[in-house]
């Protein structure tokens, strides 16, 4: 089968995005709670508890407090989780159980627009979570500005990448239980071993190599740099990584969805 083109995408994908926004607004107060509370819990547990043991961390040639070290990682993890879980479990429910995509496909919307709208929506959730977390973490004075503001557009790019990866899995799993596989083989290891809670350098070389392939590592590095006020060429490899990831997984997700839904 030929590789599906992306040409069939118009701005109409925003209508799909808008549909999700309307649903989200119905219970936004509840949706806002996790990203607002999560940093409190983590900063409390790690800051008060673990910080006493760890003290400072050696990072990029300087000593920083453990809280300053993990705070950006919390944001990075949320960028990953919001987009990935939105475009796996939530998208799967809409596609498989609610037949929302089927109904949309009887309208002028194309499949490409439906999937694009879903992925952009997942990225939007990453952005919303990022803005809330930035606000909360900034109360502790753990983010440098103005460079910290760049984390917001970064969260969108990261959200597109993680959402596309999630949507790829949504297109290939036969039932919702199977999402446990990517979650436990991909998301959870990344959550723990991507330089999130301890520096990569403390791991053996082979583990560092694996971590270097993983997307979360790069978004943790980028978020951390921006939080520390570092805006220079050292950001470029990480950014390139995400742009490339988007260019691979976004068309791949649409291709696989096309194979799944167009019969």
């Amino acid at each position: 089968m030929k590789f599906i083109t992306l040409i069939n995408i118009s701005m109409r994908f925003l209508r799909v995005w808008q549909r999700n926004l309307i649903v989200y607004r119905e219970n936004w107060k509840i949706s806002f709670i996790p990203p607002a509370l999560e940093p409190f819990f983590y900063l409390l547990a790690f800051g008060v508890g673990l910080s006493a043991l760890v003290g400072t961390v050696h990072y990029e040639g300087s000593e920083i407090s453990y809280l300053v070290f993990i705070a950006p990682a919390l944001i990075a993890i949320n960028i990953m989780n919001n987009a990935f879980f939105e475009n796996t479990y939530a998208s799967f429910v809409r596609m498989y159980y609610q037949k929302t995509f089927d109904a949309m496909m009887a309208t002028p919307l194309s499949l490409q627009e439906i999937i694009t709208g879903e992925i952009v929506w997942g990225a939007t959730k990453s952005v919303v979570a990022t803005v809330i977390m930035l606000a909360v973490i900034s109360l502790f004075g753990l983010i440098r500005y103005p460079s910290g503001l760049l984390i917001i557009p970064l969260s969108f790019i990261g959200g597109i990448a993680f959402g596309s990866i999630g949507m790829y899995f949504t297109a290939i799993v036969s039932n919702i239980e199977l999402f446990n596989l990517p979650v436990f083989l991909f998301i959870t290891p990344m959550f723990l071993f991507s330089g999130t809670f301890f520096p990569l350098e403390t791991m053996p070389g082979w583990a560092q190599d694996i971590a270097f392939i993983m997307p979360l590592t790069h978004i943790v590095n980028l978020t951390r740099s921006l939080s520390l006020g570092i805006v220079d060429a050292s950001l470029l490899p990480g950014l390139c990584y995400f742009v490339i990831a988007c260019f691979i997984f976004f068309p791949l997700a649409i291709h696989k969805m096309h194979r799944r839904l167009i019969k």
Partner: protein, 317 residues
């Protein structure tokens, strides 16, 4: 009542067809779901596709509303080739899919307004149209209910309203009343009748013969992906079964030989003998006098008789 307008619509043929399907084919791997099907639907008509489960009805209409690509043949809707103009065609049709597929995350009126958004309708217009349609299907009192709180009949009506939100020129219904209670079914039929009287072209699939006989100007009966017959409901009944049907329970050998000797059209189901005749009064008197052991009835032939005769009585699963 609306029969007048319907006749007129049917008599205006032929003009440019709304749907022009020629040698339509759809295969899924080795399975041939639709096998060289050709038919035309003209403006203002209600056209039915009948057939048992797996006959290819849904596959056929899914190609028409651009849901699934065709394997072969040519298909024009509004004179436009579906392979080239899917988006333009889809913006001019309304579809009621078999599964309700309402948006359970949205409220009743939101379901209509959000759907209107998929057609790029301006919000003001969408709201106005949504309110009118909710009145039309008698659901305006539930406009703020969650779609999931509705009964089956209400959901179906809402799906119908949703299919009309873009003011379509062609309405496609896949088994519109399957699983509905009689009240809801009749309301849907009434509304479809009104829509047709206003000039809307309707394409529907069904295996409810009453529905087909009541709504359709013309229909095709499909089985195994092919068209068995095409025609007006009454003509088909006349042509394939005659006017009257006599059913005899537990027929004896004498009756069987009588039927054979007179060369009567019949079906022998073992415990039941079904005889099709044009004028059944005399025969029925004779049968009830001499051959009726366990009960016998005479009734008008219906589309269901034609359907069973053509597609057989084997179960389809």
């Amino acid at each position: 009542m609306m029969n007048g307008t319907r006749k007129n619509a049917a008599e205006k043929l032929p003009e440019n067809p709304i749907i022009d399907a020629r040698n339509l084919r759809k295969t899924f791997g080795d399975l041939v779901a639709v096998d060289n099907v050709s038919f035309r639907v003209y403006p203002g008509e209600c056209f039915g596709i009948l057939g048992p489960n797996g006959a290819g009805k849904t596959s056929t209409i899914r190609m028409i509303y651009g849901f699934s690509p065709m394997t072969g043949g040519t298909l024009k809707v509004f004179g436009l080739d579906v392979t080239q103009n899917a988006r333009r065609i889809k913006s001019r049709i309304g579809v009621c899919q078999q599964e309700n597929a309402l948006d359970p995350d949205l409220r009743v009126q939101q379901n209509l307004e959000v759907f209107a958004g998929y057609f790029n309708m301006p919000l003001k217009d969408a709201q106005k149209q949504a309110q009118q349609l909710l009145k039309f299907i008698a659901l305006d009192h539930r406009k703020d209910a969650r779609a999931t709180e509705l009964s089956g009949g209400m959901m179906r009506r809402l799906v119908l309203a949703r299919a009309l939100i873009n003011r379509p020129e062609l309405l496609i219904l896949d088994e519109p009343t399957t699983g509905l209670d009689p009240q809801s079914r009749h309301l849907v039929w009434e509304r479809l009748g009104e829509l047709q009287a206003n000039g809307l072209t309707i394409l529907l699939t069904t295996h409810n013969m009453d529905e087909a006989a009541r709504l359709c100007d013309r229909l095709i009966i499909m089985d195994h992906g092919r068209i068995l017959v095409e025609g007006k409901p009454l003509d088909l009944v006349r042509q394939y079964t005659g006017r009257d049907v006599i059913e005899v329970a537990e027929p004896d050998q004498q009756l069987r030989s009588l039927v054979l000797s007179r060369n009567l059209q019949h079906e022998d189901l073992g415990h039941r003998l079904i005889i099709y005749v044009d004028e059944g009064n005399a025969l029925f008197r004779e049968i009830s006098k001499d051959y009726c052991r366990e009960g016998c009835i005479m009734r008008m032939a219906s589309l269901e008789d034609v359907f069973l005769k053509l597609t057989g009585r084997d179960l389809r699963e």
